[in-house]
Protein backbone atom coordinates (compact mmCIF):
# COMPACT_ATOMS: atom_id res chain seq x y z
CA UNK A 1 0.00 0.00 0.00
CA UNK A 2 1.14 3.51 -0.64
CA UNK A 3 2.87 5.16 2.29
CA UNK A 4 0.53 8.14 2.40
CA UNK A 5 -1.37 6.57 5.26
CA UNK A 6 -0.15 4.55 8.22
CA UNK A 7 -2.78 2.61 10.09
CA UNK A 8 -0.96 0.94 12.91
CA UNK A 9 -1.08 0.84 16.69
CA UNK A 10 -3.65 3.05 18.29
CA UNK A 11 -4.85 4.67 15.07
CA UNK A 12 -5.75 1.17 13.87
CA UNK A 13 -7.51 0.43 17.15
CA UNK A 14 -9.53 3.64 16.95
CA UNK A 15 -10.67 2.84 13.42
CA UNK A 16 -11.55 -0.68 14.51
CA UNK A 17 -13.61 0.59 17.43
CA UNK A 18 -15.48 3.26 15.47
CA UNK A 19 -16.25 0.98 12.52
CA UNK A 20 -17.46 -1.74 14.88
CA UNK A 21 -19.82 0.66 16.65
CA UNK A 22 -21.09 2.00 13.35
CA UNK A 23 -21.99 -1.47 12.16
CA UNK A 24 -23.67 -2.28 15.45
CA UNK A 25 -25.73 0.90 15.44
CA UNK A 26 -26.88 0.54 11.85
CA UNK A 27 -28.16 -3.00 12.31
CA UNK A 28 -29.53 -2.49 15.81
CA UNK A 29 -32.80 -0.92 14.74
CA UNK A 30 -33.54 -2.90 11.63
CA UNK A 31 -36.94 -4.60 11.17
CA UNK A 32 -36.93 -8.39 10.81
CA UNK A 33 -38.49 -8.04 7.34
CA UNK A 34 -35.12 -6.83 6.08
CA UNK A 35 -32.90 -9.40 7.77
CA UNK A 36 -32.35 -11.52 4.68
CA UNK A 37 -31.61 -8.66 2.28
CA UNK A 38 -29.45 -7.02 4.91
CA UNK A 39 -27.41 -10.16 5.46
CA UNK A 40 -26.98 -10.34 1.73
CA UNK A 41 -26.17 -6.61 1.56
CA UNK A 42 -23.50 -6.82 4.22
CA UNK A 43 -22.24 -9.92 2.43
CA UNK A 44 -21.84 -7.72 -0.65
CA UNK A 45 -19.96 -5.04 1.29
CA UNK A 46 -17.24 -7.40 2.47
CA UNK A 47 -16.80 -8.23 -1.20
CA UNK A 48 -14.40 -5.26 -1.11
CA UNK A 49 -11.91 -8.01 -0.25
CA UNK A 50 -11.43 -8.19 -4.02
CA UNK A 51 -9.41 -4.98 -3.72
CA UNK A 52 -6.95 -6.63 -1.36
CA UNK A 53 -6.71 -9.67 -3.62
CA UNK A 54 -5.95 -7.35 -6.55
CA UNK A 55 -3.17 -5.79 -4.48
CA UNK A 56 -1.75 -9.20 -3.61
CA UNK A 57 -1.85 -10.35 -7.23
CA UNK A 58 -0.37 -7.09 -8.50
CA UNK A 59 2.61 -7.59 -6.21
CA UNK A 60 3.05 -11.30 -6.88
CA UNK A 61 6.47 -12.48 -8.01
CA UNK A 62 6.32 -16.27 -8.13
CA UNK A 63 3.89 -18.55 -9.93
CA UNK A 64 2.55 -19.76 -6.57
CA UNK A 65 1.70 -16.21 -5.48
CA UNK A 66 0.15 -15.54 -8.87
CA UNK A 67 -1.99 -18.67 -8.68
CA UNK A 68 -3.25 -17.94 -5.18
CA UNK A 69 -3.73 -14.27 -6.00
CA UNK A 70 -5.68 -15.17 -9.13
CA UNK A 71 -7.96 -17.44 -7.12
CA UNK A 72 -8.36 -14.66 -4.57
CA UNK A 73 -9.45 -12.12 -7.17
CA UNK A 74 -11.90 -14.56 -8.78
CA UNK A 75 -13.42 -15.38 -5.38
CA UNK A 76 -13.52 -11.75 -4.27
CA UNK A 77 -15.06 -10.55 -7.53
CA UNK A 78 -17.66 -13.31 -7.23
CA UNK A 79 -18.47 -12.25 -3.70
CA UNK A 80 -18.94 -8.63 -4.75
CA UNK A 81 -20.86 -9.17 -7.98
CA UNK A 82 -23.02 -11.99 -6.65
CA UNK A 83 -23.78 -10.16 -3.43
CA UNK A 84 -24.83 -7.10 -5.38
CA UNK A 85 -27.08 -8.93 -7.82
CA UNK A 86 -29.02 -10.97 -5.29
CA UNK A 87 -29.41 -8.04 -2.87
CA UNK A 88 -30.63 -5.75 -5.60
CA UNK A 89 -33.06 -8.41 -6.83
CA UNK A 90 -34.51 -8.90 -3.36
CA UNK A 91 -34.81 -5.24 -2.48
CA UNK A 92 -36.30 -4.41 -5.86
CA UNK A 93 -39.31 -6.54 -4.98
CA UNK A 94 -40.28 -4.70 -1.83
CA UNK A 95 -43.09 -2.31 -2.43
CA UNK A 96 -45.82 -0.60 -0.46
CA UNK A 97 -49.52 -0.81 -1.26
CA UNK A 98 -50.08 2.86 -0.41
CA UNK A 99 -49.23 4.63 -3.69
CA UNK A 100 -51.40 2.23 -5.68
CA UNK A 101 -54.50 2.96 -3.65
CA UNK A 102 -54.48 6.63 -4.54
Amino acid sequence: MDATLTLTGFVALYIFMLAAFTGYEIIGRVPAILHTPLMSGSNFIHGVVVVGAMYALANAHTWLEQAIGFAGVVLGAGNAAGGYVVTERMLGMFKSSKPEQK
Binding site: T8, A32, I45, N59, G72, T87
Partner: protein, 464 residues
Protein backbone atom coordinates in the same frame (compact mmCIF):
# COMPACT_ATOMS: atom_id res chain seq x y z
CA UNK B 1 5.06 10.57 -9.91
CA UNK B 2 3.98 8.09 -7.30
CA UNK B 3 2.35 10.57 -5.01
CA UNK B 4 -0.72 11.61 -7.04
CA UNK B 5 -1.66 7.99 -7.65
CA UNK B 6 -1.39 7.25 -3.95
CA UNK B 7 -3.53 10.27 -3.19
CA UNK B 8 -6.12 9.22 -5.75
CA UNK B 9 -6.25 5.73 -4.27
CA UNK B 10 -6.69 7.05 -0.74
CA UNK B 11 -9.36 9.57 -1.77
CA UNK B 12 -11.27 6.88 -3.66
CA UNK B 13 -11.12 4.53 -0.68
CA UNK B 14 -12.42 7.29 1.52
CA UNK B 15 -15.35 7.78 -0.85
CA UNK B 16 -15.93 4.02 -1.00
CA UNK B 17 -15.92 3.68 2.79
CA UNK B 18 -18.45 6.50 3.04
CA UNK B 19 -20.67 4.93 0.38
CA UNK B 20 -20.57 1.53 2.13
CA UNK B 21 -21.70 3.00 5.45
CA UNK B 22 -24.28 5.25 3.82
CA UNK B 23 -25.58 2.39 1.66
CA UNK B 24 -25.86 -0.02 4.58
CA UNK B 25 -27.75 2.63 6.54
CA UNK B 26 -30.19 3.13 3.65
CA UNK B 27 -30.64 -0.64 3.42
CA UNK B 28 -31.96 -0.74 6.96
CA UNK B 29 -35.36 0.69 5.99
CA UNK B 30 -37.67 -0.83 3.36
CA UNK B 31 -38.41 2.56 1.82
CA UNK B 32 -34.81 3.45 1.00
CA UNK B 33 -33.32 -0.04 0.82
CA UNK B 34 -33.05 -0.32 -2.93
CA UNK B 35 -31.19 2.96 -3.22
CA UNK B 36 -28.87 1.74 -0.46
CA UNK B 37 -27.48 -1.19 -2.40
CA UNK B 38 -26.95 1.02 -5.45
CA UNK B 39 -24.92 3.52 -3.41
CA UNK B 40 -22.85 0.75 -1.91
CA UNK B 41 -22.39 -0.71 -5.39
CA UNK B 42 -21.05 2.62 -6.64
CA UNK B 43 -18.54 2.54 -3.79
CA UNK B 44 -17.42 -0.91 -4.88
CA UNK B 45 -16.92 0.14 -8.51
CA UNK B 46 -14.82 3.13 -7.43
CA UNK B 47 -12.68 0.99 -5.13
CA UNK B 48 -12.08 -1.73 -7.73
CA UNK B 49 -11.27 0.63 -10.61
CA UNK B 50 -8.75 2.64 -8.64
CA UNK B 51 -7.12 -0.54 -7.33
CA UNK B 52 -6.02 -1.42 -10.86
CA UNK B 53 -3.32 1.18 -10.18
CA UNK B 54 -1.67 -1.30 -7.79
CA UNK B 55 -0.15 -3.03 -10.79
CA UNK B 56 3.19 -1.31 -10.92
CA UNK B 57 5.53 -1.36 -13.94
CA UNK B 58 8.42 -1.80 -11.50
CA UNK B 59 7.40 -5.41 -10.94
CA UNK B 60 8.96 -7.63 -13.65
CA UNK B 61 5.70 -9.58 -13.75
CA UNK B 62 3.76 -6.37 -14.42
CA UNK B 63 2.05 -7.36 -17.66
CA UNK B 64 1.25 -10.90 -16.58
CA UNK B 65 -0.17 -9.74 -13.28
CA UNK B 66 -2.30 -7.03 -14.82
CA UNK B 67 -3.65 -9.50 -17.37
CA UNK B 68 -4.33 -12.02 -14.62
CA UNK B 69 -6.19 -9.39 -12.58
CA UNK B 70 -8.40 -8.44 -15.51
CA UNK B 71 -9.14 -12.06 -16.41
CA UNK B 72 -9.90 -12.94 -12.78
CA UNK B 73 -12.23 -9.95 -12.41
CA UNK B 74 -14.05 -10.88 -15.60
CA UNK B 75 -14.39 -14.55 -14.67
CA UNK B 76 -15.55 -13.90 -11.09
CA UNK B 77 -17.98 -11.17 -12.09
CA UNK B 78 -19.47 -13.00 -15.03
CA UNK B 79 -19.98 -16.23 -13.15
CA UNK B 80 -21.51 -14.62 -10.07
CA UNK B 81 -23.68 -12.25 -12.06
CA UNK B 82 -25.06 -15.09 -14.15
CA UNK B 83 -25.68 -17.25 -11.07
CA UNK B 84 -27.21 -14.41 -9.10
CA UNK B 85 -29.66 -13.54 -11.89
CA UNK B 86 -31.05 -17.03 -12.27
CA UNK B 87 -31.12 -18.34 -8.69
CA UNK B 88 -34.70 -18.76 -7.46
CA UNK B 89 -35.70 -16.78 -4.39
CA UNK B 90 -36.20 -19.99 -2.40
CA UNK B 91 -32.50 -20.78 -2.80
CA UNK B 92 -31.36 -17.38 -1.57
CA UNK B 93 -29.88 -18.60 1.75
CA UNK B 94 -27.50 -21.05 0.12
CA UNK B 95 -26.56 -18.49 -2.53
CA UNK B 96 -25.61 -16.01 0.19
CA UNK B 97 -23.63 -18.81 1.84
CA UNK B 98 -21.77 -19.47 -1.39
CA UNK B 99 -20.88 -15.82 -2.08
CA UNK B 100 -19.91 -15.41 1.53
CA UNK B 101 -17.62 -18.42 1.38
CA UNK B 102 -15.98 -16.92 -1.69
CA UNK B 103 -15.26 -13.73 0.27
CA UNK B 104 -13.75 -15.76 3.10
CA UNK B 105 -11.67 -17.66 0.59
CA UNK B 106 -10.43 -14.41 -0.95
CA UNK B 107 -9.40 -13.13 2.49
CA UNK B 108 -7.56 -16.39 3.15
CA UNK B 109 -5.90 -16.14 -0.29
CA UNK B 110 -4.60 -12.65 0.52
CA UNK B 111 -3.11 -14.00 3.73
CA UNK B 112 -1.60 -16.91 1.83
CA UNK B 113 0.14 -14.61 -0.65
CA UNK B 114 1.42 -12.37 2.13
CA UNK B 115 2.71 -15.35 4.12
CA UNK B 116 4.07 -17.60 1.33
CA UNK B 117 5.73 -14.59 -0.28
CA UNK B 118 7.01 -13.42 3.12
CA UNK B 119 5.55 -9.97 2.41
CA UNK B 120 4.16 -9.77 5.94
CA UNK B 121 7.04 -9.19 8.32
CA UNK B 122 7.04 -8.80 12.06
CA UNK B 123 4.79 -10.22 14.76
CA UNK B 124 2.00 -7.66 14.23
CA UNK B 125 1.32 -8.09 10.51
CA UNK B 126 2.03 -11.83 10.60
CA UNK B 127 -0.25 -12.34 13.59
CA UNK B 128 -3.05 -10.36 11.95
CA UNK B 129 -2.57 -12.18 8.65
CA UNK B 130 -2.73 -15.53 10.44
CA UNK B 131 -5.82 -14.62 12.44
CA UNK B 132 -7.54 -13.36 9.30
CA UNK B 133 -6.47 -16.52 7.46
CA UNK B 134 -7.92 -18.72 10.18
CA UNK B 135 -11.26 -16.90 10.30
CA UNK B 136 -11.45 -16.54 6.53
CA UNK B 137 -10.51 -20.18 5.97
CA UNK B 138 -13.12 -21.42 8.45
CA UNK B 139 -15.71 -19.18 6.78
CA UNK B 140 -14.71 -20.51 3.35
CA UNK B 141 -14.92 -24.23 4.04
CA UNK B 142 -17.78 -23.85 6.53
CA UNK B 143 -19.88 -21.85 4.09
CA UNK B 144 -19.31 -24.43 1.38
CA UNK B 145 -20.59 -27.13 3.73
CA UNK B 146 -23.59 -24.94 4.61
CA UNK B 147 -24.27 -24.42 0.92
CA UNK B 148 -24.03 -28.15 0.18
CA UNK B 149 -26.42 -28.96 3.02
CA UNK B 150 -29.09 -26.44 2.04
CA UNK B 151 -28.72 -27.42 -1.60
CA UNK B 152 -29.40 -31.00 -0.56
CA UNK B 153 -26.03 -32.22 -1.84
CA UNK B 154 -24.99 -33.43 1.57
CA UNK B 155 -26.43 -35.54 4.33
CA UNK B 156 -28.18 -33.36 6.88
CA UNK B 157 -25.87 -33.85 9.86
CA UNK B 158 -22.80 -35.92 10.46
CA UNK B 159 -22.02 -36.81 14.03
CA UNK B 160 -19.73 -39.23 15.80
CA UNK B 161 -18.57 -39.73 19.32
CA UNK B 162 -15.70 -37.57 20.45
CA UNK B 163 -16.54 -35.02 17.77
CA UNK B 164 -16.28 -32.00 20.04
CA UNK B 165 -12.93 -33.17 21.38
CA UNK B 166 -11.62 -33.69 17.85
CA UNK B 167 -12.82 -30.21 16.83
CA UNK B 168 -11.14 -28.64 19.84
CA UNK B 169 -7.91 -30.51 19.10
CA UNK B 170 -7.88 -29.42 15.46
CA UNK B 171 -8.45 -25.80 16.48
CA UNK B 172 -5.74 -25.93 19.14
CA UNK B 173 -3.29 -27.60 16.77
CA UNK B 174 -3.95 -24.93 14.13
CA UNK B 175 -3.40 -22.16 16.66
CA UNK B 176 -0.18 -23.86 17.80
CA UNK B 177 1.07 -23.95 14.20
CA UNK B 178 0.23 -20.24 14.00
CA UNK B 179 2.44 -19.50 16.99
CA UNK B 180 5.11 -21.73 15.47
CA UNK B 181 4.99 -19.63 12.27
CA UNK B 182 5.57 -16.47 14.29
CA UNK B 183 8.75 -18.12 15.54
CA UNK B 184 10.01 -18.66 12.00
CA UNK B 185 8.11 -18.68 8.73
CA UNK B 186 8.36 -21.65 6.37
CA UNK B 187 6.10 -22.70 3.53
CA UNK B 188 5.45 -26.07 5.14
CA UNK B 189 4.16 -24.49 8.35
CA UNK B 190 1.93 -22.10 6.40
CA UNK B 191 0.47 -25.01 4.44
CA UNK B 192 -0.20 -26.91 7.66
CA UNK B 193 -1.91 -23.85 9.10
CA UNK B 194 -4.26 -23.47 6.15
CA UNK B 195 -5.04 -27.19 6.14
CA UNK B 196 -5.98 -26.92 9.81
CA UNK B 197 -8.18 -23.85 9.30
CA UNK B 198 -10.05 -25.41 6.37
CA UNK B 199 -10.51 -28.70 8.21
CA UNK B 200 -11.86 -26.92 11.26
CA UNK B 201 -14.45 -25.06 9.16
CA UNK B 202 -15.73 -28.37 7.78
CA UNK B 203 -15.70 -30.14 11.15
CA UNK B 204 -17.48 -27.28 12.88
CA UNK B 205 -20.30 -27.18 10.32
CA UNK B 206 -21.08 -30.83 9.55
CA UNK B 207 -22.90 -31.62 12.83
CA UNK B 208 -25.23 -28.62 12.61
CA UNK B 209 -28.72 -29.38 11.33
CA UNK B 210 -30.40 -27.69 8.40
CA UNK B 211 -32.84 -25.70 10.54
CA UNK B 212 -29.97 -23.89 12.21
CA UNK B 213 -28.02 -23.30 9.02
CA UNK B 214 -29.25 -19.70 8.47
CA UNK B 215 -27.80 -18.63 11.79
CA UNK B 216 -24.55 -20.34 10.88
CA UNK B 217 -24.48 -18.60 7.49
CA UNK B 218 -25.02 -15.29 9.22
CA UNK B 219 -22.19 -16.10 11.62
CA UNK B 220 -19.86 -16.92 8.73
CA UNK B 221 -20.90 -13.66 7.11
CA UNK B 222 -19.62 -11.87 10.20
CA UNK B 223 -16.50 -14.08 10.14
CA UNK B 224 -15.69 -13.13 6.58
CA UNK B 225 -16.20 -9.46 7.43
CA UNK B 226 -13.77 -9.75 10.32
CA UNK B 227 -11.24 -11.65 8.18
CA UNK B 228 -11.44 -8.95 5.51
CA UNK B 229 -10.93 -6.29 8.17
CA UNK B 230 -7.88 -8.08 9.59
CA UNK B 231 -6.29 -8.54 6.16
CA UNK B 232 -7.06 -4.85 5.60
CA UNK B 233 -4.80 -4.03 8.53
CA UNK B 234 -2.08 -6.25 7.07
CA UNK B 235 -2.29 -4.49 3.70
CA UNK B 236 -2.90 -1.09 5.31
CA UNK B 237 -6.02 -0.78 3.19
CA UNK B 238 -8.62 1.49 4.84
CA UNK B 239 -11.53 0.46 2.58
CA UNK B 240 -11.05 -3.17 3.58
CA UNK B 241 -10.62 -2.30 7.25
CA UNK B 242 -13.76 -0.21 7.48
CA UNK B 243 -15.98 -2.41 5.30
CA UNK B 244 -14.70 -5.56 6.98
CA UNK B 245 -15.04 -4.42 10.57
CA UNK B 246 -18.41 -2.82 9.78
CA UNK B 247 -19.75 -6.12 8.47
CA UNK B 248 -17.99 -8.05 11.22
CA UNK B 249 -19.88 -6.21 13.93
CA UNK B 250 -23.16 -5.76 12.04
CA UNK B 251 -23.08 -9.44 11.10
CA UNK B 252 -22.41 -10.53 14.67
CA UNK B 253 -25.38 -8.52 15.90
CA UNK B 254 -27.58 -9.87 13.10
CA UNK B 255 -26.54 -13.40 14.06
CA UNK B 256 -27.46 -12.80 17.69
CA UNK B 257 -30.82 -11.30 16.65
CA UNK B 258 -31.56 -14.35 14.51
CA UNK B 259 -30.58 -16.77 17.28
CA UNK B 260 -32.74 -14.82 19.73
CA UNK B 261 -35.70 -14.99 17.34
CA UNK B 262 -35.39 -18.76 17.53
CA UNK B 263 -35.09 -18.52 21.30
CA UNK B 264 -31.70 -20.14 21.26
CA UNK B 265 -28.28 -18.96 22.22
CA UNK B 266 -25.50 -18.99 19.69
CA UNK B 267 -23.49 -21.42 21.78
CA UNK B 268 -26.52 -23.69 21.91
CA UNK B 269 -26.80 -23.69 18.12
CA UNK B 270 -23.10 -24.26 17.51
CA UNK B 271 -22.44 -26.91 20.11
CA UNK B 272 -25.66 -28.65 21.09
CA UNK B 273 -26.53 -30.11 17.71
CA UNK B 274 -30.24 -29.47 17.57
CA UNK B 275 -31.77 -29.86 14.17
CA UNK B 276 -32.59 -33.50 14.06
CA UNK B 277 -33.27 -34.49 17.63
CA UNK B 278 -35.12 -37.75 18.17
CA UNK B 279 -38.81 -37.18 17.94
CA UNK B 280 -39.98 -35.82 21.27
CA UNK B 281 -43.44 -35.57 22.71
CA UNK B 282 -44.69 -38.95 21.55
CA UNK B 283 -48.19 -39.61 20.30
CA UNK B 284 -50.90 -37.02 20.56
CA UNK B 285 -54.50 -37.89 21.37
CA UNK B 286 -57.28 -36.78 19.05
CA UNK B 287 -57.95 -37.05 15.36
CA UNK B 288 -57.08 -35.07 12.28
CA UNK B 289 -60.11 -33.58 10.54
CA UNK B 290 -59.83 -32.76 6.90
CA UNK B 291 -61.81 -30.16 4.99
CA UNK B 292 -62.43 -29.35 1.34
CA UNK B 293 -60.54 -26.38 -0.11
CA UNK B 294 -63.77 -24.89 -1.40
CA UNK B 295 -65.51 -24.96 1.99
CA UNK B 296 -62.52 -23.32 3.64
CA UNK B 297 -62.46 -20.63 0.98
CA UNK B 298 -66.15 -19.86 1.42
CA UNK B 299 -65.72 -19.49 5.14
CA UNK B 300 -62.91 -17.02 4.58
CA UNK B 301 -65.00 -15.14 2.03
CA UNK B 302 -67.60 -14.45 4.73
CA UNK B 303 -65.09 -13.78 7.52
CA UNK B 304 -64.29 -10.26 8.55
CA UNK B 305 -60.69 -10.91 9.43
CA UNK B 306 -58.28 -13.51 8.09
CA UNK B 307 -54.65 -13.89 9.13
CA UNK B 308 -52.35 -15.96 6.96
CA UNK B 309 -49.32 -17.72 8.41
CA UNK B 310 -47.11 -18.78 5.51
CA UNK B 311 -44.15 -21.14 5.78
CA UNK B 312 -41.42 -22.47 3.56
CA UNK B 313 -43.83 -25.06 2.12
CA UNK B 314 -45.67 -22.21 0.40
CA UNK B 315 -42.55 -21.26 -1.50
CA UNK B 316 -41.63 -24.86 -2.29
CA UNK B 317 -45.03 -25.28 -3.93
CA UNK B 318 -44.52 -21.93 -5.70
CA UNK B 319 -47.98 -20.92 -4.51
CA UNK B 320 -47.23 -17.31 -3.47
CA UNK B 321 -48.69 -15.81 -6.62
CA UNK B 322 -51.92 -17.81 -6.41
CA UNK B 323 -52.13 -17.00 -2.71
CA UNK B 324 -51.89 -13.29 -3.37
CA UNK B 325 -54.53 -13.59 -6.09
CA UNK B 326 -56.80 -15.22 -3.50
CA UNK B 327 -55.98 -12.50 -0.96
CA UNK B 328 -56.89 -9.80 -3.46
CA UNK B 329 -60.25 -11.51 -4.09
CA UNK B 330 -60.94 -11.50 -0.35
CA UNK B 331 -59.89 -7.87 -0.02
CA UNK B 332 -62.21 -6.84 -2.87
CA UNK B 333 -65.02 -8.45 -0.91
CA UNK B 334 -64.26 -6.47 2.23
CA UNK B 335 -62.30 -9.07 4.17
CA UNK B 336 -59.40 -7.75 6.19
CA UNK B 337 -56.35 -9.88 5.38
CA UNK B 338 -53.00 -9.78 7.10
CA UNK B 339 -49.87 -11.86 6.85
CA UNK B 340 -48.13 -13.01 10.01
CA UNK B 341 -44.45 -13.83 9.63
CA UNK B 342 -42.59 -15.91 12.13
CA UNK B 343 -38.96 -14.81 12.57
CA UNK B 344 -37.70 -18.07 11.11
CA UNK B 345 -40.40 -18.57 8.49
CA UNK B 346 -38.73 -19.62 5.29
CA UNK B 347 -35.13 -20.59 5.72
CA UNK B 348 -33.92 -17.50 7.54
CA UNK B 349 -35.31 -14.32 9.11
CA UNK B 350 -36.82 -12.11 6.46
CA UNK B 351 -36.72 -14.84 3.82
CA UNK B 352 -40.52 -15.19 3.77
CA UNK B 353 -40.88 -11.43 3.32
CA UNK B 354 -38.74 -11.68 0.23
CA UNK B 355 -40.75 -14.61 -1.11
CA UNK B 356 -44.03 -12.74 -0.59
CA UNK B 357 -42.59 -9.57 -2.07
CA UNK B 358 -41.68 -11.61 -5.15
CA UNK B 359 -45.39 -12.38 -5.59
CA UNK B 360 -46.22 -8.68 -5.29
CA UNK B 361 -47.64 -8.70 -1.75
CA UNK B 362 -47.14 -5.15 -0.41
CA UNK B 363 -45.05 -5.04 2.75
CA UNK B 364 -47.57 -3.03 4.74
CA UNK B 365 -49.98 -5.97 5.10
CA UNK B 366 -47.12 -8.19 6.27
CA UNK B 367 -46.50 -8.18 10.01
CA UNK B 368 -43.78 -9.51 12.27
CA UNK B 369 -44.83 -12.05 14.87
CA UNK B 370 -44.61 -9.74 17.86
CA UNK B 371 -46.76 -7.10 16.17
CA UNK B 372 -49.59 -9.42 15.19
CA UNK B 373 -49.62 -12.22 17.76
CA UNK B 374 -52.29 -10.50 19.87
CA UNK B 375 -54.62 -10.17 16.89
CA UNK B 376 -55.16 -13.88 16.31
CA UNK B 377 -57.89 -14.05 18.95
CA UNK B 378 -59.88 -11.48 16.97
CA UNK B 379 -59.40 -13.34 13.71
CA UNK B 380 -62.21 -15.44 12.28
CA UNK B 381 -59.87 -17.62 10.30
CA UNK B 382 -56.18 -18.33 10.53
CA UNK B 383 -54.84 -19.90 7.36
CA UNK B 384 -51.60 -21.83 7.76
CA UNK B 385 -49.83 -22.68 4.53
CA UNK B 386 -46.76 -24.86 4.49
CA UNK B 387 -45.79 -23.91 8.02
CA UNK B 388 -45.49 -26.38 10.83
CA UNK B 389 -43.04 -25.92 13.70
CA UNK B 390 -43.66 -22.18 13.84
CA UNK B 391 -47.33 -22.75 14.73
CA UNK B 392 -46.92 -25.75 17.03
CA UNK B 393 -48.40 -25.01 20.49
CA UNK B 394 -46.14 -27.71 21.95
CA UNK B 395 -43.41 -25.07 21.95
CA UNK B 396 -45.32 -23.31 24.74
CA UNK B 397 -46.12 -26.24 26.98
CA UNK B 398 -44.28 -29.44 26.19
CA UNK B 399 -40.88 -29.38 27.90
CA UNK B 400 -39.89 -32.64 26.25
CA UNK B 401 -40.25 -31.16 22.79
CA UNK B 402 -37.06 -30.03 21.04
CA UNK B 403 -38.80 -26.85 19.99
CA UNK B 404 -39.88 -26.04 23.56
CA UNK B 405 -39.39 -22.37 24.32
CA UNK B 406 -39.40 -21.17 20.74
CA UNK B 407 -41.91 -18.33 20.35
CA UNK B 408 -44.73 -19.34 17.99
CA UNK B 409 -47.55 -17.69 16.07
CA UNK B 410 -50.77 -17.93 18.11
CA UNK B 411 -52.83 -19.28 15.23
CA UNK B 412 -54.59 -21.68 17.60
CA UNK B 413 -56.34 -18.70 19.18
CA UNK B 414 -58.27 -17.88 16.01
CA UNK B 415 -61.87 -19.06 15.85
CA UNK B 416 -61.08 -21.41 13.02
CA UNK B 417 -57.76 -22.68 11.72
CA UNK B 418 -57.18 -24.17 8.29
CA UNK B 419 -53.90 -25.84 7.57
CA UNK B 420 -52.92 -26.44 3.96
CA UNK B 421 -50.44 -29.27 3.87
CA UNK B 422 -49.15 -31.75 1.36
CA UNK B 423 -49.55 -34.76 3.59
CA UNK B 424 -49.29 -35.93 7.14
CA UNK B 425 -45.52 -35.41 7.40
CA UNK B 426 -43.73 -33.69 10.22
CA UNK B 427 -42.03 -30.31 10.32
CA UNK B 428 -38.38 -29.54 9.77
CA UNK B 429 -37.62 -30.31 13.41
CA UNK B 430 -39.32 -33.72 13.15
CA UNK B 431 -41.91 -32.97 15.80
CA UNK B 432 -45.62 -33.88 15.73
CA UNK B 433 -47.86 -30.83 15.70
CA UNK B 434 -50.54 -30.64 18.41
CA UNK B 435 -52.30 -27.86 16.56
CA UNK B 436 -53.52 -30.22 13.87
CA UNK B 437 -55.45 -32.22 16.47
CA UNK B 438 -57.24 -29.25 18.00
CA UNK B 439 -61.03 -28.94 17.73
CA UNK B 440 -60.90 -25.65 15.85
CA UNK B 441 -58.41 -26.95 13.29
CA UNK B 442 -59.11 -28.51 9.92
CA UNK B 443 -56.59 -29.87 7.48
CA UNK B 444 -56.79 -29.12 3.78
CA UNK B 445 -54.57 -31.72 2.14
CA UNK B 446 -53.00 -31.13 -1.21
CA UNK B 447 -50.37 -29.25 -3.12
CA UNK B 448 -50.55 -25.62 -1.96
CA UNK B 449 -50.74 -24.27 -5.47
CA UNK B 450 -53.62 -26.57 -6.49
CA UNK B 451 -55.45 -25.82 -3.25
CA UNK B 452 -55.14 -22.09 -3.88
CA UNK B 453 -56.54 -22.52 -7.39
CA UNK B 454 -59.54 -24.38 -5.95
CA UNK B 455 -60.03 -21.67 -3.34
CA UNK B 456 -59.91 -18.89 -5.92
CA UNK B 457 -62.46 -20.75 -8.01
CA UNK B 458 -64.78 -21.28 -5.04
CA UNK B 459 -64.77 -17.60 -4.14
CA UNK B 460 -65.26 -16.54 -7.76
CA UNK B 461 -68.22 -18.88 -8.16
CA UNK B 462 -69.95 -17.15 -5.26
CA UNK B 463 -69.87 -13.92 -7.19
CA UNK B 464 -69.01 -10.55 -5.71
Amino acid sequence: MNFPIGLLIQASYFAAAFLFIFGLKRMSSPVTARGGIVWAGAGMVVAVLVSLAFASPENPQFKTNLALILIALAVGNAWAWWQGRRVPMTSMPQMVALYNGMGGGAAAAIAAVELYGAHAQGYGPQGLALLGALIGGVSFSGSLVAWAKLEGKMQKSIRFSGQKILNALVLLATLAVGVWILGGLTELKVSLFFAGALAFGVLMTIPIGGADMPVVISLYNAFTGMAVGLEGFVLQNPAMIIAGVLVGSAGTLLTILMARAMNRSLANILFSNFGEVDVGGGEIAGTLKSAEAGDAAIQMRYASKVIIAPGYGLAVAQAQHKLYEFVKLLQERGVEVKFAIHPVAGRMPGHMNVLLAEAGVPYDIIFDMEDINNEFKEADVALVIGANDTVNPAARTNKASPIYGMPILNVDQAKQVYVIKRGQGKGYSGVENELFYRDNCNMVYGDAQKVMVQMIQAVKELGA
